[in-house]
Symmetry: C2
Subunit: 307 residues, 2 copies
Amino acid sequence: MPDAPLYERVAFIGLGLIAGSMAHAMRRGGLVGETVGTARSADTRDVAREIGLVDRVVDSAAEAVEGADLVVLAVPVGAMGGVAEEIGPKLAPGATVTDVGSVKRAVIEAVGPHIPEGVHFIPAHPLAGTEHSGPRSGFATLFDNRFTLIVPSEGSDRDAVGRLETLWQGMGAHTEEMDADHHDLVLAVTSHTPHLIAYTMVGVADDLRRVTDSEVIKYSAAGFRDFTRIAASDPTMWRDVFLHNKDATLEILGRFTEELFALQRAIRTGDGDQLFDYFTHTREIRRGIIEAGQDTDAPDFGRAKTK
Amino acid sequence: MPDAPLYERVAFIGLGLIAGSMAHAMRRGGLVGETVGTARSADTRDVAREIGLVDRVVDSAAEAVEGADLVVLAVPVGAMGGVAEEIGPKLAPGATVTDVGSVKRAVIEAVGPHIPEGVHFIPAHPLAGTEHSGPRSGFATLFDNRFTLIVPSEGSDRDAVGRLETLWQGMGAHTEEMDADHHDLVLAVTSHTPHLIAYTMVGVADDLRRVTDSEVIKYSAAGFRDFTRIAASDPTMWRDVFLHNKDATLEILGRFTEELFALQRAIRTGDGDQLFDYFTHTREIRRGIIEAGQDTDAPDFGRAKTK
């Protein structure tokens, strides 16, 4: 535990999976003083109060940020600008505002103009999550051994950036700095396009006349169920991601369909060598992910009981 | 444990994940008398001998099936016909031949003509697997609570079919009967197309200039890593699946690209409502899979440590 808290008072705007997990992880590490939180929905605020998610739940974002030296915007990307506009005039001088949005360029454009002189705006993105959402879904270990990307701008105060990175490291994460446009492209590859493809595949399966939903469900262990986890993620969050990382997602989707058509053609023409070579190559990426500690080598993600 | 073994001698042709898991599961249940096995590769046979995967490892398929009352073809779909041709003349009268191929119509056409009068050919397909392969990858619980589809033909001997179903149930599986063409369509949806899409997405990520493999690997926890598991499956097996379930796979792929283009258009035109509705719908399928006991509700497939 650090000698002094990194921040005296942290305000969470939004109390879903990420904010909730941050609150748990901050408590685990004894990293901060008071935590305050709010959410747009009264139900969410009630649940947060009931389970003691943060020290104090308040009814508005403007109230939450009063006297906070760290403000965490943890709402869907499309809602960030409105929140920033509301809290801008209430931010304490010297405070840091950060966010946890999955898209960075659009958030910077929406939030940046509302941040007053003397307040540090340092966007961030923890690359961790689960298919669950809401105030009960968070847990302290979510960020352990995962990466959080920090997206400072050229003029960012290095002390403020360093303190935010120390906080994320205290919550278990590795941190790396990246510029906003590269972030959005990397995430289009590692997250946004895979989610869109998973949503699409699950939608297709749900919509066939000749194969029933019951068959899809019963026989899903043959591969399909791996897709359904990320296709069960929060719809509002993902709608906003696609609307706000349009260009990079469309670029990677274009590459994806190009490759898919090439493999489709190999199937149609019976080109077994092309298929075999392609499928051999993709094993190496999986091996890299396991060696980097970003997934388990246990069969079936560890779902299978091999003992 | 049954009073008498269901089969006196089981011959496995091929000693990979599925045959190995069957051998373990048969042993666990005390379901059969002797198990005999062979594989084309001498290395595989050596490993199988070393770990005692079956009671007796022999050097050829023709030798393996001698005196067996159950023969299990557990080789890639494209190799089934050649094996059937080799063993056909050696099969014992009254024996049952089954297979575990992921495609059924093509296997029936390749194997059927080599099965002599008086031998029962009853195709089957256990809907279970992991991304690992080879003689060391099998384990006794692989089929527990999973489905095995049995694909008898109209003239199949009902006693022989019933005995094979009892065997699969003894290995932990639920069994259902299905005709070959419907099987191939259902699997195109629940398995073959998802695998092709996963292979494609992983291939695209590997092939980008502006995003390095190292970045893809480090930041994979944002969604991508779910795809890499099935894209690490055995390349020979999957090459053969696509070549031999061409029509159904191409049909489902066509539906998939149609839907993907519709969502791509919604992103391009900024139609958030369409995206939101689509993403809301797909959550229900996941819920169905969990309620049917075909996947875990633990966050992140249970990879996440929430305690």
